[in-house]
Symmetry: C2
Subunit: 251 residues, 2 copies
């Protein structure tokens, strides 16, 4: 039982309208690699946002009063806070310099996932993709069209979390695989039902990918994971990882 | 940039007093593998607990009144709830069939990490290791003694989390490496400071390992990750991942 996590080097700066699948296939070719059936392709959210034109020039944003007041407390640009609020379904926490929201997709994260780094010139913000499951599906389908290979695709981002320090990479969008491996029916060595029941394997794949993505100075926006036997599925997977509010003990 | 995650097959049932390092080295030998300098060895908590004698026979546990009352609400054995309470620094949530505690180590998790599965006969509970950082260090040192190889060791367990469904494997104990990769000084492609600052790489390594650990029917209790360039450190690492209570926005 062995798997490989391959950082895809040489992906150029991504622009609106670029095909991530094509950039990936070309970069792999230059590396002397090819996609294989059953690979999991993990793509950093920021290049998906760029390709989908989810970039907003800050000078075109008119911050409202609420954004201006919050921005002062946060030490952020009011334009950025305005974008964060627009992307938020609700503000969950606003203190100690932190702004934690639930995004329109349902993700709970800092700043609605609005990102200023690695974006052209720094006066531009990247919003999360509108529908990361759909983004993942389109990349998966385009990979199939270009290569004939059936892969699973995870669109990932790096989130903080309660209780533990540091951020980890998680799956926002998932296509082609079940995001959760349900072991509830399985018994352990002694015939006792397993207590560990449902493993968020899509999140674990995203985390495994980050270990190579974070390595290079300039960052590596795509990783290919080979050898993981996922369960195929046609259902959008990212949204299955969102815990419903009424099942959350900490909200 | 490539890394490998190798599931170590053929680890026998672990008993009190066993040397995890020795079992690992012997199993790898049977697989035709060897440890290398710079490998990360991820060990599932439950075999560490077994080796360290952290098993408790339920018939030897006298549940108090509080445990008996809570057990009825949870649908658990009172003896198990008694152990959970003994392992807890505080009970954080107790509703909808869930008992979330902060353990004496500081981890926030369900049932203080007390585990009934994969434990001899099912009438026995496995408590978390008393000091997982020390457990990791001992395994690391014993590996060095047996093989002359310098590795990092992560003792891992599978935890649920707020906001997201499913459980992921995280690092309880870490030895030989920094658990968090601090990128706060780094600049992005455009010279702008990175927003993503501190990556909990030890947790990501644990999650990567789970992808092979969870595969086999009987489970694979150890994985070796090769090719990840961790930053060496002598400080106990697992405790550095615990978010202090006063820095937690959701407690």
């Amino acid at each position: 039982m062995k798997l490989e996590v391959i950082g895809v080097q040489g992906i150029p700066l991504v622009r609106r309208g670029d095909s991530i699948a094509r950039l990936l296939v070309e970069a792999l070719k230059r590396m002397g690699e090819n996609l294989q059936d059953g690979d999991v392709v993990v793509v950093s959210q920021v290049i998906v946002s760029k390709a989908e034109g989810r970039m907003v020039k800050l000078k075109n944003v008119k911050p409202g009063l609420k954004a201006r007041i919050m921005a002062e407390k946060l030490g952020k640009e009011a334009e950025v806070v305005e974008l964060i609020l627009r992307e938020a379904l609700e503000v969950l926490r606003f203190r100690n310099g932190h702004l934690i929201t639930r995004t329109r997709h349902g993700y709970v994260c800092a700043n609605s996932g609005v990102d200023l780094s690695n974006v052209s010139g720094g006066d531009t913000a990247a919003l999360l993709p509108s529908d990361p499951d759909l983004s993942a599906k389109k990349i998966k389908n385009e990979i199939y069209r270009l290569t004939g290979k059936r892969v699973a695709v995870v669109v990932s981002d790096t989130f903080g979390r309660p209780f533990r320090l540091g951020q980890v990479n998680v799956a926002l969008g998932v296509s082609g695989m079940k995001p959760i491996h349900d072991r509830r029916g399985e018994k352990d060595l002694f015939g006792r039902k397993l207590q560990v029941k449902e493993i968020a394997v899509a999140d674990e794949l995203a985390s495994a990918a980050e270990l190579v993505m974070g390595e290079a100075d300039e960052g590596i926006p795509i990783a290919v994971i080979r050898g993981y036997k996922y369960e195929e599925s046609r259902k959008p997977g990212g949204r299955q990882l969102v815990r419903p509010r009424d099942k959350d003990l900490f909200l």
